[in-house]
């Protein structure tokens, strides 16, 4: 008689994979570490701005115009006092301290980046879910998204800011709007794919109502790609804000942003390249850090997407 002791002799159990938890993989990834570390430094700079040897970024002194980096000069406070001041990164054509403007600019850029990502993600997720679940709305909404994607993002942002007058809120919304279609598409495609999965079908046949299916089965599996997408939107937002300000159609010139500093310094570029390069370096490093963080997150959280980009 042939034995039926399959369990003892079966080889299957031997090859079950051991998987480190997602959080651990994220923490161990080099890109994530580097990106997060640099960003932590930048956040620290942004928070500690008043104590890093800066002055109020709107202070100026006509006697200290167009100084080279490390030059000494004077600066007039709001009360009218004149202080001696070392201009670490030089001064612009109004006599403002570029170093202070660059340090305070960190706050604006990070704020714009994060807020843009949050706005774009929230609206995009909403649209994507609606699109994925309601077929009739889907057709119309997708056409609208296609139309929105057909207009180059910069142009939408420029046009919107031009119409609504530049302020922090309008800039954030103007930059976020062109990012919404991509998030919508991502969420929609994930919803459509996940709904086809056998475990969702099993939930349907077990009597789970649609809303619960959405909450329990669909949404949790969308979180990882959305986080990755969010970091890239953040990077894009920081860049776009800088470009807008540089072109003169972003935030008002008195708010210190890297783009504004560079816009101001354009005219003197030939003799004073530092006006562009100092804020430029900060900008590049920040965006680079966010992008590297995003790459690392993508490699660990969403391997399928990793190969696609």
């Amino acid at each position: 008689m042939l034995p039926t002791n399959f369990e003892a002799l079966s080889v299957e159990a031997a090859s079950v994979q051991r998987q480190a938890s997602a959080w651990q993989r994220v923490r161990d990834n080099t890109s994530v570490r580097i990106g997060a570390a640099v960003l932590a430094v930048l956040v620290a700079i942004a928070l500690a701005a008043p104590w890093l040897g800066t002055v109020d970024p709107s202070l100026f002194d006509p006697a200290s115009r167009d100084l080279k980096p490390l030059a000494s000069g004077e600066i007039t406070t709001l009360e009218g006092e004149t202080l001696a001041h070392r201009f670490l990164m030089g001064s612009d054509s109004f006599g403002r301290d570029i170093y202070s403007r660059v340090i305070y600019g960190t706050r604006v850029s990070l704020l714009v980046g994060v807020c843009t990502a949050l706005v774009a993600l929230s609206i995009g997720v909403l649209f994507g879910l609606v699109s994925g679940f309601l077929r009739k709305v889907d057709a119309v909404l997708m056409r609208v998204m296609d139309g929105l994607m057909a207009i180059p993002a910069i142009l939408i942002a420029i046009a919107l800011v031009a119409m609504w007058k530049g302020s922090l809120l309008t800039v954030i919304v103007a930059i976020a709007i062109p990012e919404i279609p991509r998030v919508t598409r991502l969420v929609r495609s994930m919803v459509l794919t996940i709904r086809e999965e056998p475990y969702v079908e099993a939930a349907v046949s077990l009597g789970t109502p649609q809303a619960l299916i959405l909450w329990r089965h669909v949404l949790p599996n969308t979180v990882a790609p959305l986080i990755v997408q969010g970091t890239f939107i953040c990077a894009s937002g920081i860049l776009t804000e800088a470009i807008l300000s540089f072109l003169g159609v972003g935030l008002p010139p008195d708010i210190p942003t890297w783009g504004n500093v560079m816009a101001e310094g354009r005219a003197q570029f030939n003799d004073h390249p530092h006006n562009i390069f100092f804020p430029g370096i900060f900008l590049a490093v920040t965006v680079l850090a966010v992008n590297i963080l995003g790459d690392g997150l993508r490699d660990t959280l969403d391997p399928k997407m990793a190969r696609r980009t």
């Binding site: 079966s10 299957e12 079950v16 046949s205 077990l206 599996n221």
Partner: protein, 539 residues
């Protein structure tokens, strides 16, 4: 020239390492076998046995992450273990060829079939264009493809699975190699197509005297074509010998277990309890897909038409058919995952075919389904316990009671109750499938639909799951609708049988009658195509 008694292929003490960090150090260890001229050696094993790794190792196609760390590979007396890449390229297609499992993905989708065969000739011979074309057409004819000119000019996606596999065979044999390695070439094909391809391989092998190393997991195929058999287990060669010896008088415990796990083609009559109430009655069920596109023609596809059957409590009805037969469509209609176009589905005394979704929900608990792919049937982010209690809690059961019932059912499917706190990825395919069965039973269904539930499992694991299903049937008197393409499984498990082809039921009756004396021509052809059907396993 090859002296007749020198083996074509000799593998001596072969060891291939795995990348570090896995659950074992080597994919295969100390494996030795040989393939003689004109001989078919079947390499059998379950997943993870290393059979594919050996096949690719012989051809030199292994990635750098799987290095050969011991042993030799000798092809016609030449040691090719450490051969240069250039020498290996020379040998491929001219002396040794390989055909793979999935013909759709194994062919380049953007090149015509003719060009892909021609490529082999261009690379290895100095023949001119006209001569090459003649040779290509010859080999296409030899693999019994109709309209060779049209086949040669077609792209892979325009051909059927069986036709694509013939193209692969043509590509492999056009230069008449002495060794053919076939890595599960028929696993992805329908039963009838499989029979044709096996016949073709046998025919060509006999004509050309090719030695064949045939990888498979299907003992039916082994019974059908092998001269000698080698059994692999987790990288070890546990048994090797002539076919009849290994299949009828296996020496190793593992081999014995594997052969014992192969479902038998039963011919005995199974008792039918006519007093048992009818749990599911389907009448004239039809599902038609109406495809309309802006510019294309309107296509009306009848996936299922005029399907009728009934199952009593404690009975198992099998629906057998090939791909496109409509069996999965019927299963999904019964569970109302898709809506039938016409017909009636009666669960006990309730008619559910036309019921709107809202009214359907309370009745859903009475018919449950287990799917084919155990790796996608459980939400990876929820624990087993959470997956199990979802169903009953939807219908008002308290959490504590649900957890208790979950533990009981897990025990019934021979899983430890501690599984509740674990996540799906911590379990193997067979274990996951058992969890899915337990999950389906949580809502106390009257009808359980198993849609190819064991098709993706290894044969020994399959045997375990089938045992579990049998036990459930006896204890809970559930009516089961068992969808499968595997005749052996159907024979072992089913009381009643329905055979479907192109959306219609062509034969229906008690299993022993249908198997013993098939009436319809299609049924007869289907049974005749089952590999190794004349071989009585385990007796």
């Amino acid at each position: 020239m090859n002296p007749p008694d020198l083996p074509i292929l000799e593998v001596q003490d072969l060891t291939i390492a795995l990348p570090s960090g896995g659950d074992r150090a080597t994919a295969v260890q100390h494996v030795s076998f040989s393939v003689g001229r004109g001989e078919i050696l079947c390499l059998v094993g379950e997943s993870g046995s290393g059979k594919s790794v050996i096949a690719q190792g012989v051809m030199g196609l292994l990635p750098k992450s799987l290095p050969l760390t011991g042993g030799r590979i000798v092809l016609q007396g030449e040691d090719i273990t450490a051969a240069s890449p250039a020498r290996l390229r020379e040998l491929r297609a001219t002396r040794m060829s390989m055909i793979f499992q999935e013909p759709m993905t194994a062919l380049n989708p953007v090149m015509t079939c003719g060009d892909q065969i021609d490529e082999v000739l261009r690379q290895h011979t100095g023949l001119g264009a006209a001569e090459r074309r003649a040779k290509v057409l010859d080999i296409v004819r030899e693999v019994l493809l109709p309209e060779p000119e049209r086949m040669v000019a077609s792209y892979p996606h325009q051909l059927s699975g069986g036709q694509r596999q013939r193209i692969m065979i043509a590509m492999a044999l056009v230069l008449d190699p002495v060794l053919l390695i076939a890595d599960e070439p028929t696993t992805a094909l329908d039963v009838t197509t499989q029979a044709q391809i096996l016949k073709l391989v046998l025919e060509l092998q006999r004509r050309h005297g090719t030695g064949v190393l045939f990888i498979t997991h299907d003992f039916g195929v082994v019974a059908e074509i092998a001269h000698r058999v080698a059994v692999l287990r987790l990288g070890d060669l546990v048994e090797i010998g002539a076919r009849d010896e290994v299949l009828r008088r296996p020496r190793h415990d593992y081999t014995r277990m594997l052969i014992g796990a192969v479902p038998t083609l039963r011919t005995d009559q199974r008792p039918v309890d006519h007093a048992a109430p009818v749990a599911l009655r389907v009448q004239n069920l039809a599902k038609t897909y109406d495809e309309r596109s802006w510019f294309g023609k309107r296509r009306v596809v009848p996936a299922a038409a005029d399907v009728s059957f009934e199952i009593r409590r404690g009975q198992t009805l099998g629906i057998v058919g090939e791909s496109g037969s409509g069996k999965s469509t019927v299963a999904r209609c019964v569970v109302r995952l898709i809506d039938p176009s016409a017909g009636s589905i009666r669960l006990g005394s309730d008619e559910i075919a036309e019921l709107p979704r809202g009214h359907l929900r309370p009745l859903r608990r009475r018919v449950q389904i287990v799917f084919q792919d155990p790796y996608r049937s459980l939400n990876p982010r929820r624990t087993v316990g959470e997956a199990m209690i979802e169903g009953p809690m939807n219908f008002g059961m308290a959490r504590e009671a649900a957890l208790t019932r979950a533990e009981d059912l897990l025990r019934l499917v021979r899983m430890p109750p501690a599984s509740m706190q674990r996540y799906p990825h911590q379990f193997s395919g067979g274990q996951r499938q058992r969890i899915c069965i337990a999950r389906a039973l949580m809502v106390e269904p009257e009808v359980l639909v198993a849609d190819e539930a064991v098709s993706a499992l290894d044969v020994s694991v399959q045997a375990q799951v089938l045992e579990v299903l049998e036990e459930i049937r006896k204890r809970l008197q559930v009516a089961m609708l068992f969808i499968t393409h595997d005749l052996r499984v159907a024979s072992q498990v089913c009381d009643l049988l329905a055979v479907m082809s192109q959306g219609r039921v062509v034969e229906y009756g008690p299993a022993h009658e249908v198997f013993g004396a098939p009436q319809h021509a299609y049924t007869r052809a289907l049974f005749a195509a089952a590999p190794g059907r004349d071989f009585a396993f385990g007796h």
